[in-house]
Amino acid sequence: MMKKFLCMALAAMMIIFTACSGTTEPSTNPTGADASSPTANQTAKSGANDEEVVIRMSSNISHITWDSMQSHQVHCPDFAFGRLFEMDADGNFDPYECEDWEVPADGMSVTLTLRDDIYFTSGNHMTSKDLQFTLMRPVNDRTMISARTYSSLENVEIVDDYTVKLVMNSPWPTCIEDINSLPVLDSAEFEKLGEDAYFAKPSTAGPFKIVNFDAVNSSYELERFDEWWGWDVFENPTNVDRIFYTLSAEDTTRVSALRTREFDIIELVPFDDTELLKDEGFQVLETIENRHIMLGCNYAGIFGNQDLREAVSLAINRALIVDTVIGIGWPAKWAWSQGMASNPNSKGYEYNMDKAKEIVSENYDGNEISLLTSSAATARVNELAQAIQSMLMEAGFNVKINMMEEATYDVMRSSGQYDLAIGVFNCTAIGEAYKECTEIIGADIFATSCDDEELFRLCQEVNGNCDFESRKAAEIAVYQHVMDNFGPYLYLYCTTGIKACNDRVDINSMNVDASGNWNILHLQVS
């Protein structure tokens, strides 16, 4: 009996060893991708094929989706789909797929002219029909993730083969920035295949084409698209031939994989690891992320009292949080990041614990305050919440931290079940505060129950304002009001994105735009 058992065990081992070998034939997985995934796992290290320049990248992404290009997590659409415009580090837009555009002063229409030499990987020519199809999707499908952004768009008219005219139902001041986040789809292929099949292996028009998109194993592979229009247009285009991109959720794993050269570029590097990487000769790039960490105050509770809001603001030492808790970033001196809606003359947020204690002793009734936060909000959110709690308790508040997972946090915040809530807001272009003024503050999306009529009036002056200078002044007025009245948001700090790469990568060729995203256009790899 024992012999039989041992024989069976040995046979099972042999079968498993055979099955687990790395030379299995490609098999179909749900996405049509190669199940012996051609990701960072290829036995060939970067550059093993001498004629081919290969880079392997990683980030902390939960899953791969095509829905939005507005996240730092998603590079595949950018590398593969391309963009209508190119944004520089100052937030200015330059021609890219769209070679010309016209935005009248009233903001009620925008005329876009495409280049005539853009082809998709399917071989189809990009025309105004594709652009019309792409821009009308969120108008026709209101449940699309970006549909809200396109609420001002009424219709897209075709003027000629390469020109479209966007017709608005209301002024859309951030039109150029917003439409730049939607990759142009190959309408013929999309209609032929349907949405899910199309996105399983999309027909794209960017510098790289998708070879394998493995949503199951969270990785993708891109290959140089030789027919891309930009190779002969831009100076010093990237010399990369192939890109492997893999999820790596754990920070230590991702950093270790860079150190073993399994990855060439990694993102979301923890601050604590930057010195180690520098000491080992890796290159570290710190970029402005335009992510603002803020504290929302619920006016329905005790923080309807402006004095108590002021006490909270006075009690929080933002510089200390950035220096000792987070380690990197910028303490908020203004209710927004540096950029167009900032006031360089702002005195910033004062830290004064004595004054905070005095206000608390005069106004606070001692009831427990709920500090709501999401465990996934930002790096070191646990420590951040504890630091805020500690500072507020020193001032005399009775604070309880409610650390929730993200889904529960979203429900609680949107229903106003909090007194204070740690929140994060990403802006897409440096200094452009339009959405925050009109949606976050103006529409009170995060249910602060703010009843400040003057604030809403100021937000209305931003809403639909297509005159740049006038809008900028209006946004400054909104934030000055927010700072003067300590609500509904108290801004804490602005985060920094840290990327790291090995010596194969010319870090200076990683062009970082105003949103903190880098693009591959000029990336040079040895």
């Binding site: 024992m2 687990c20 070998s21 790395g22 030379t23 095509w66 959720a249 150190r259 073993t260």
Partner: protein
């Protein structure tokens, strides 16, 4: 016995129906909203409601459950809005990934545990016994997260013997298996040692020895058979580990397994994915326990299947 097996299978169906109800209810009771998670933070309540209608989440719970179970009976496990693909294939690929790790861990874990447990059990009180028990205790006490990171830093970064993460052949599975192996081997070693000590105290062993049978033969031919029953029990729990995956190991080593998938699905309330994974895990577990019980009767004729 076949009649008993069939009856057991019928009870399995009832069990799975109960599991399906719990799997359906749990993510909904936990709060959160899939529609809200799929939309940006600035989405209005009207947009969220429209998304709920699109996904059928506005229907009464009973109707949603009936629709889901009808799909299950047709082999349709639903659609994952998070991954934008059918749940069945997604789940199956992830399960295979987890199963590979678990099977290897089980095999190597017992290849280490059996000899160590036997040596310790047959040399009770000796320095060998103490050494083996010390290693086993340390192995069981060692936090898995810490051990995983230690393996990465030592074997991958310092020595460069294995890759840090990824999916592929044996070399990619080595570190994840090692991390799970420590705990399993330690536990089985202690179990086998205890079993061997108890078995060697039995009268039949004394009688066998009195008849002149050598100790080696007693250990391998007589005592080992009785000591193997805990291993079979361990097989049952390993099936549980296989279907559940190890979230810690899969997350740290970037191994796309079913445990990691379940956690990600729960995080965004991907209801159909959560329900299907829980149901699938329960089915595998129940069938696995049934197979284990059958194996008992094969290994030890004294045990009756019930």
């Amino acid at each position: 016995m076949w009649r008993k097996i069939v009856r057991r299978l019928l009870f399995t169906v009832i069990t799975l129906i109960g599991v399906s109800i719990i799997a359906f209810a749990l993510p909904r009771l936990a709060g959160g909203d899939l529609a809200r998670e799929l939309l940006p933070g600035t989405a209005t309540e009207e947009e969220i409601q429209a998304k709920r209608v699109e996904m059928g989440l506005d229907k009464p719970y009973i109707e949603q459950y009936v629709i889901y179970m009808r799909g299950i009976l047709r082999g349709d496990f639903g659609y994952s809005h998070q991954y934008r693909m059918d749940v069945g294939p997604l789940m199956w690929v992830r399960f295979i990934n987890s199963a590979k790790l678990t099977i290897l861990t089980f095999i190597f874990g017992n290849l280490i545990a059996i000899p160590l447990g036997l040596i310790a059990g047959t040399h009770k009180g000796s320095w060998i016994d103490s050494l083996v028990m010390f290693i086993a205790l340390v192995g069981q006490a060692c936090p898995q997260v810490w051990f995983c990171l230690l393996l990465i830093l030592f074997f991958a970064v310092e020595l460069g013997w294995f890759p840090v993460q990824g999916v592929g052949g044996l070399k990619y599975m080595a570190l994840p298996c090692l991390s799970g192996l420590l705990n399993q081997a330690s536990g089985n070693t202690r179990m086998l040692r205890s079993g061997m000590i108890d078995t060697l105290d039995e009268d039949y062993v004394t009688a066998t020895r009195a008849r002149g049978v050598t100790w080696n033969k007693i250990y391998t031919k007589y005592a080992l058979k009785n000591v193997m029953l805990p291993i079979i029990t361990g097989l049952g729990s390993s099936i549980g580990a296989m279907v559940g995956g190890s979230v810690i190991v899969e997350s740290i080593f970037g191994w796309p397994g079913i445990g990691q998938l379940l956690v990600a699905a729960v995080g965004v309330r991907d209801y159909q994915l959560v329900q299907s994974i829980l149901l699938f895990q329960a089915a595998i577990m129940v069938i696995g326990v049934l197979a284990t019980d059958i194996l008992y009767t094969v290994v030890d004729k004294r045990i009756e299947f019930n």
